[in-house]
Amino acid sequence: MGAKQLAEKVESILDNYQRDQGMLVSILQDIQAEYNYLPKEALVEVSQTLGAPLSRVYSVATFFKAFSLEPRGRYLINVCLGTACHVRGAVRILETIERELDIRPGKTTQDLKFTLETVNCVGCCALGPVVIIDGEYHGQMKTDKVKVLLENYT
């Protein structure tokens, strides 16, 4: 990814929000959707164009759970740990995925295929436990279905 392309991309995202500082969270969401994480260069670009101190951009980027400052894998796995999922055994689902992929939550597999994260409720509570992989929702998960599910992503 060239520095120029990155700068152009970030500029166009900023333009979508009329370079409004108040829209910082949404702006970072869009950058992350583009690059899968928040590259440092992008944060610098945002700070300079908006005229907001880099420290503030950084503090927002680290405050919200949805942002990642590290590159993430091709498939993002989100295990929902909302209450409804919890009472139906979400922790055991998470542990099974951790064991299958040999990574802890927040980490990425060595082949950069999967990043494992947890989320505190995606509002699919009636179908818990829920696992979301690459934006696809998988409801009513069971520990013995995890392996087959992961094998579907190649």
Binding site: Q21, M23, F64, N120
Partner: protein, 625 residues
């Protein structure tokens, strides 16, 4: 693009609005069969998308487009049985629909009026098949004033909302009511904030209207960080115009010209549908400059959250809207006086806004006939956890918890015993069996040590450990604390550590009392409601289930069989036929096969207590002790 086949027309008077409404309704034949398919996140998670595609494709292929309509609607609530399909006008209720069922539904039910038995819902308690939606026990005791329209409209088509009377309330207030009269009506309705606090909406509006300042902001809180709750998501996804209409009415009453919808980015469909709704309302002249030719201007922008629970708190949400980290501030000065960018700001949650058009249309006198003396109207709950019929339920205030869980929810699955129901999310508490006849309203739930909250209702059975639940919420709150004030940042952490010790067998005498003392300090001295209510899950579990705490601390035992350090899995020899299912599933090879028709052997040394064997066994041949 606007709705189906309508010329792009900016409406500039109430008459034009009624005119377009009439022409939309006239074009629609109420007797024409319509296949309504749920397009909410829940049903989509159950492969609803392929069902929708199959219906569209088959109808085209069979050349019956003129004979039948298809409508992709919002969530009708009964997620557990999804994907859901309802055939109108009869309201034939089909559930758990798969792509393979689609051709038959079209050829048999739509074209020949034949009911397909196997797709009907079977009542778990009577064993009887039910044909019509309104006869399903899940729906019978509900009063679906707010969420009922979800299944009548396609949220991406504004004409559908107009066809069910949409924006009539807006037209009424703009041309026939003064802002003061609107506020008076909302005050008279006794509407209380549905986001959790239960503050009287009319009084909030009045305070904001009277607050000094030329610019005032209006916010719709769709952050819904409360885990286990998804009412706001379903409303925003399924009927966004009802929320917009409520917001515009509020803006007129208060005197705001700029509004925001703050929505979680974890709700992509809600973000999308809200955006479409805003664009369509603007094109129709129902939002933006000179609304309906009244001279009143109001615009709405969408701002997405970043997954922080604390942003449901008004001052933290506003900080986030300003592009800052979502940290709460002390509210010596209320946000209605100094909120977003230090201007008077009125914030209400999605469900509150959605109640407003109803109150204006039907009148406060009608509205106050529903509910209890201090809690009027209905409330939507997300009924989830260990209950047969999970989904969204809308009930009149004052209904008992027992009716919700056992009549609507159909009781506890698998013949297990009910233990508790958790309401109010991380700020609420658990309510035990002995209080199940409690009427559901703001004050009664608070008296029981819990709270209404935004409407999560998580049912727990005998297999849920109350200490584990308390630890779960405190872990959640520790992560979600913004870290600004010490009582919350440090206190919650200490409480979580004590709870972890208890669940891992290191509990000691005096821990319960220490938790109670810490709770008192955190409640009294935290900056915002997140900390101020954080001890509730601990205090209610101690209050109602002290024996479980004591079993963990004194006997090093988890009666529910949840806390890993205190349990072990065992094979029930007389039930185990040696089928090898568990042996194959065990990740650590702790299970050894002996021979057919002989029980397997579980090696406790190798067992990591992952519980997979327990999950795969169909014969209850594995127990937890």
């Amino acid at each position: 693009m606007v709705g189906k086949g309508q010329a792009l027309n900016r409406l500039s008077s109430p008459d034009e609005l009624e005119g377009i409404r009439k022409s939309i309704i006239k074009q629609r034949d109420p007797n024409k069969p319509c296949i309504t398919i749920c397009g909410g996140t829940g049903c989509l998670a159950l492969r609803g998308e392929s069902v929708i595609a199959a219906f569209k494709q088959k109808i085209k292929r069979q050349g019956v487009e003129t004979k039948v309509d298809v409508r992709i609607t919002g969530c009708p609530g009964f997620c557990e049985r999804g994907p859901l399909v309802v055939i109108k006008p009869q309201n034939i209720f089909y559930q758990r629909i798969r792509v393979e069922d689609v051709p038959e539904i079209i050829s048999e039910t739509v074209l020949r009026d034949n009911i397909i038995d196997r797709l009907l819902y079977t009542d778990p308690n009577t064993g009887q098949k039910v044909i019509y939606e309104h006869e399903v026990s899940f729906y019978k005791k509900q009063k679906r004033l707010i969420i009922g329209n979800n299944e009548l409209i396609d949220p991406t088509i504004i004409d559908d909302y107009l066809a069910v009377g949409g924006y009539a309330a807006l037209s009424k207030v703009l041309f026939r009511m003064s802002p003061e009269e609107v506020i008076e009506e909302v005050k008279k309705s006794s509407l209380r904030g549905r986001g959790g606090g239960g503050f009287p909406t009319g009084i909030k509006w009045e305070t904001c209207r009277k607050a000094r300042g030329d610019i005032k902001y209006l916010i719709c809180n769709c952050d819904e960080g409360d885990p286990g709750a998804f009412m706001d998501r379903s409303l925003m996804e399924g009927n966004p115009h009802s929320v917009l209409e409520g917001m515009i009415i509020g803006a007129y009453a208060i005197g705001c010209h700029e509004g925001y919808i703050y929505v979680r980015n974890e709700y992509p469909l809600a973000v999308k549908n809200a955006g479409i709704a805003i664009r369509q309302a603007e094109e129709y002249g129902l939002l933006g400059k000179d609304i309906l030719g009244s001279g009143f201007d109001f615009s709405i922008r969408i701002s997405r959250g970043g997954g922080a629970f604390v942003c449901g708190e008004s001052s933290a949400l506003m900080a986030s809207l300003e592009g800052k980290p979502g940290e709460a501030r002390a509210k010596y000065v209320h946000t209605v006086e100094r909120g977003l960018w230090d201007k008077p700001t009125n914030l209400n949650n999605v469900e509150t806004w959605a109640n407003v058009p109803l109150i204006i249309n039907q009148g406060a006198d009608w509205y106050t006939k529903i509910g209890t003396p201090n809690s009027k109207g209905t409330k939507i709950f997300s009924l989830v956890g260990k209950v047969n019929n999970t989904g969204l339920v809308e009930v009149p205030m004052g209904i008992t918890l027992r009716e919700v869980i056992f009549d609507i929810g159909g009781g506890i699955p698998g013949g297990k015993e009910f233990k508790a129901v958790q309401t109010g999310g991380p700020s609420g508490g658990v309510i035990p069996e002995s209080l199940l006849d409690l009427p559901v309203d703001f004050d009664e739930l608070t008296k029981a040590g819990s709270m209404m909250g935004s409407g999560g209702m998580i049912v727990m059975d005998e297999n849920n450990c109350m200490v584990d639940i308390a630890k779960y919420f405190l872990t959640f709150l520790e992560e979600e604390s913004c870290g600004k004030c010490v009582p919350c940042r440090e206190g919650v952490k200490r409480m979580r550590e004590i709870l972890t010790d208890i669940t891992e067998g290191r509990g000691k005498d005096g821990d319960i009392e220490l938790l109670e003392r810490l709770s008192a300090v955190i409640i009294d001295s935290s900056l915002c409601a997140l900390g101020g209510t954080a001890p509730n899950p601990v205090l209610t579990t101690i209050g109602y289930f002290r024996d479980e705490y004591e079993a963990h601390i004194r006997d090093k035992r988890c009666p529910a069989g949840v806390c890993k350090a205190l349990i072990s899995y065992h094979i029930v020899d007389e039930k185990c036929p040696g089928c090898r299912l568990c042996e194959k599933a065990c990740p650590t090879r702790a299970i050894t096969f002996v021979e057919k028709r002989k029980p397997v052997i579980l090696d406790q040394e190798k067992c990591i207590k992952c519980g997979i064997c327990y999950d795969v066994c169909n014969l209850d041949a594995i127990t937890v002790k």
